[in-house]
Point group: C2
Chain length 162, copies 2
């Protein structure tokens, strides 16, 4: 596989994670971390299930990777995530020193890698990342669009039943 195919391959795995989230009624966002070419952590958003505000896919996958490597420094890792990280998750990426981040769709409402802020490329912090966006962005975005459409339709149905 060349670099582009590799990025698409790992993003497919992140999309599988996002699909697991959707199946649980969670906003479908998924992430994986690859270390020296091996997937060491997979996670999906679990905010509603856990009722824990910090259980975004990225926070969970970072914690699993720290546990796997026995270190808070995630050197030689790549993080794949279906949606542009929010400030919390971008901050966690900086804290864990992940050198490369690949994401699918942009998030115009809270994205803090390119949309609202560029937190991963601010040289005032003690870490910066190599960032690649737009990998399978249509599939990643479509999952979210479908999820929120179904949510709205369910709400409409319920209102009609009242």
């Amino acid at each position: 596989m060349n670099g582009i195919e590799q990025d698409q391959y790992y993003m497919e795995l992140a999309i599988e994670e996002a699909e697991k989230a959707a199946a649980k009624g969670e906003v479908p966002i998924g992430a994986v971390i690859v270390h020296d070419g091996k997937v060491i952590a997979r996670a999906h958003n679990l905010r509603e299930t856990t009722q824990n505000a910090v259980t975004h896919a990225e926070l969970l996958v970072i914690q699993e990777a720290c546990s796997q490597l026995g270190s808070w420094r995630l050197e030689n890792t790549h993080l794949y995530v279906t949606l542009e990280p929010c400030p919390m998750c971008a901050g966690a990426i900086l804290q864990s020193r992940i050198p490369r981040v690949i994401y699918g769709a942009r998030d115009a409402k809270a994205g803090s890698v390119d949309s609202l802020y560029r937190l991963l490329n601010d040289d005032r912090f003690n870490h910066q990342c190599d960032v690649k966006e737009n990998v399978l962005a249509d599939e990643c975005g479509q999952l979210l669009t479908n999820f929120f459409r179904a949510l709205r339709e369910n709400k409409k149905k319920k209102r009609k039943q009242l």
Copy 2:
């Protein structure tokens, strides 16, 4: 107690947490969350102990408060922390909808509430906070100064012994 005394009282508890961190060789930062006037969570930085990049005092105290209240929405809470939050922790404060944040000392290197960014007061996000800084800031800052001074002196001693 009036409002100022109350804020100092709870910041003292956050300082006690920071002291617990220092005793473990952790960068001394502590936090507490108060809900309707009652302390529901206390935590201190545990990054070295856990080797988990996201175990800052704020992330830990937010998770404990979510667990205590059974909800990711930390309504009617105040978060007290000895140091200005980094982007990850400021982001977690937004995610958990904490309405009021009180901190001690500014962090010129990574502070993202007043110093480098003003993440808690950006009306493009779906939540903003009431922020108060400079509560027992000298004590909070002194803990960090003492910690890093002792660390440097220990390193010097070790070098001399080689």
